[in-house]
């Protein structure tokens, strides 16, 4: 049985995230979910976007593809499309995942390749200095909405569920044990699985909008999630199963 540390590039520590940032908690839960399933690191490909959360691959000892901002799922589609036996995980921030990358997100859900999307939602663009994203709530204070965000936020889970994903779940960085369990389930679900983690950016969004201090902010984001857990679940045949059935080679290509 592998230990969660076997998936982490411990020699790369300390990480670049601010003190109190929620990203480390999510990374820990992901490494633990890998070890719970005893996944072989050589068969895992972690695809990341650009952002603070997108730096997560720097601390992993799996295969990694750090692509461009918003396109993690598109790169992941190529990896998984070409080699379906791989365990492919796409790590995205809310900027990455549902703002610049929103088109890829709905199409990944519709297409249902067996990829797991893990989106950390800290309600703003951390890396570029705390501007608003498509998940910043109406009225949210950010460095580009000093008087409040004039736009409405996406309900990302509802969006992904409507687009046809096999599994959609939501929790927060305040509940790492539940996150770990949901990730285990996502990693073993055929078709596209999506986990949204509400998390903290104490340097920007938290400081402008939430309780003082990272620990209190974690409670704030947990409260904002409402009822965490599975949001939607559908029995789907994944892309490759459908592809080979259509092309009359159902059995040959069962993998």
């Amino acid at each position: 049985m592998r230990d969660f540390r076997d998936y982490l590039a411990l020699d790369r520590l300390p990480h670049m995230w601010c003190a109190g940032c929620g990203h480390g908690i999510v990374l820990g839960a992901l490494a633990r979910a890998f070890s719970d399933l005893d996944l072989d690191p050589s068969q895992i490909v972690v695809v990341t976007g650009i952002g603070c959360w997108g730096k997560a691959d720097d601390y992993l000892r799996t295969n990694a593809l750090h692509g461009t901002h918003g396109r993690a799922l598109a790169f992941a589609t190529g990896v998984k499309g070409a080699r379906p036996s791989l365990q492919v995980v796409a790590l995205m921030g809310d900027g990455d995942g549902v703002t610049i990358g929103g088109n890829h997100l709905i199409h990944a859900a519709r297409r249902n390749l067996s990829i797991t999307g893990l989106m950390v939602n800290n309600y703003n663009y951390g890396m570029t200095g705390g501007q608003y994203s498509a998940t910043t709530p109406y009225g949210g204070l950010t460095t580009t909405s000093r008087e409040g965000c004039p736009e409405e936020a996406f309900d990302t889970c509802a969006l992904v569920a409507a687009a046809g994903a096999a599994l959609v779940a939501r929790t927060s960085a305040y509940q790492p044990a539940q996150l770990r369990a949901l990730l285990r389930q996502a990693l073993t679900t055929p078709g596209f699985s999506f986990v949204e983690v509400a998390s903290t950016c104490p340097t920007y969004f938290g400081r402008f909008n939430q309780a003082p201090g990272p620990a209190e902010q974690l409670k704030d984001v947990a409260a904002s999630v409402g009822s965490p857990g599975i949001v939607a679940k559908r029995q789907v045949d994944d892309f490759h199963a459908r592809y080979w059935r259509i092309h009359g080679k159902g059995d040959e290509h069962e993998r």
Binding site: V45, A64, G78, L86, H107
Partner: protein, 371 residues
């Protein structure tokens, strides 16, 4: 026995024979035949055809597929090629072999969607931020479409970089004879031979190409669009950046002789040299037919440019003429390379190919310079 085939079909045929197993694309005129043939033929060969949501995704997907070990391909035209630029830069940075077909149509923007152009020459070279050098090939016949597609896959693996094939719409939609070879030489990836623990995806002696593993093999590896060292992990000190950027440049430019193909047709010491590419090179050859003083130099490879050879062939010329279906792109390169005589452009950007007679007239009209 040659068979009658269209340029786009020859590209698809070349890719299939070269062993392509993954295609991701978004349809666009005048390249869509490539997608249609891939969709029809790939499943029968055990390959995957994916119709992506846009060209950003198409480019990303062929990079991902290549890293997973597939020979991967996409095809597009001007507007889609513009959307691919950011991820093309990613393929340059992460040194990912893949092949991109850009069937050139007349721009700018949506432009004349069904008409030919040669306006993407500089976009192919400089369309990305940073220096981001790539290889770009330019076929001028249906046979060339097939042959250069096969070659594109070989160059992509050999130099670990994206290769762009740039037919213009005339060549891509032209139907003419194609001699299909019995067998084609397939690209080979240079895979690591060290132990998995020792493998560094970007480590190679200066000027050499590091071996590339594939996801799912025992070689676990990182690639990133960020600046990185030999290990593939991001690193941003000036020395790392200097070495990486020089490597990306030098791996192509120091080996231009192995990459760039230039074709010369004409007398030993031409007084007039017409430098052209794509369908325009064929018009140029027709234009100088029977002219004992004029030759045509066809750029079958656009980037990197074989500057030494160009200067050599142009050495005897009193005039260099560069006809192209744009308002002046390659002509500026020729002016940089050829300093001893005038370099004239002959430009047309109205969606019509340049006729042989226009080139012949330009040679005649240059009067004193040419004769």
């Amino acid at each position: 026995m040659p068979i009658l085939m269209q340029g786009n079909a020859a590209i698809a045929e070349g890719a299939l024979r070269a062993g392509v197993s993954f295609y991701a694309g978004y349809p666009i005129t005048p390249s869509s035949e490539v997608a249609e043939i891939m969709a029809r033929r790939l499943p029968g060969q055990g390959g995957i055809y994916l119709q992506m949501e846009d060209e950003l995704a198409s480019m990303a997907a062929i990079i991902g597929a290549s890293l997973a070990g597939a020979r991967s391909l996409t095809a597009t035209s001007g507007p889609g090629f513009s959307l691919m630029q950011e991820n093309l830069g990613m393929a340059v940075m992460a040194e990912v072999p893949c092949v991109i077909v850009n069937v050139q149509r007349s721009g700018p923007s949506t432009g004349l969607a069904t008409r030919p152009g040669q306006g993407d020459i500089m976009q192919a070279r400089w369309g990305r931020h940073g220096d981001a050098p790539i290889i770009a090939l330019c076929p001028s016949s249906v046979q060339d479409c097939f042959d250069q597609t096969v070659r594109a896959f070989i160059l992509a693996e050999k130099f670990r970089c994206p290769v762009v094939l740039m037919p213009d719409q005339v060549v891509a939609h032209l139907s003419e004879g194609l001699e299909l070879p019995g067998e084609v030489t397939r690209s080979e990836r240079s895979r690591p031979t060290c132990s998995p623990a020792e493998y560094q995806p970007f480590a190679a002696p200066p000027g050499e190409i590091p071996p590339l593993a594939e996801y799912g093999s025992p070689y676990v590896f990182h690639v990133t669009s960020s600046m990185h060292d030999e290990t593939g992990f991001s690193r941003s000190d000036p020395e790392t950046a200097r070495k990486k950027n020089l490597h990306l440049h030098r791996k192509l430019h120091d080996r231009v002789e192995d990459i760039a193909e230039v074709r010369y047709y004409g007398p030993d010491r031409p007084g007039v040299l017409v430098v052209a590419y794509g369908i325009t090179a064929r018009a140029a050859r027709a234009a100088v037919q029977g002219d004992e003083d004029a030759g045509v130099l066809e750029l079958a490879t656009l980037w990197p440019l074989h500057e030494r050879r160009l200067a050599e062939v142009a050495g005897s010329a009193r005039l260099v003429l560069v006809p192209e279906m744009n308002l002046g792109q390659m002509v500026h390169e020729m002016r940089r390379i050829v300093r001893h005589c005038p370099v004239h452009g002959l430009h047309r950007a109205d969606g019509e190919p340049i006729e042989p007679e226009e080139i012949a007239r330009a040679i005649r009209d240059s009067g004193g310079e040419a004769r």
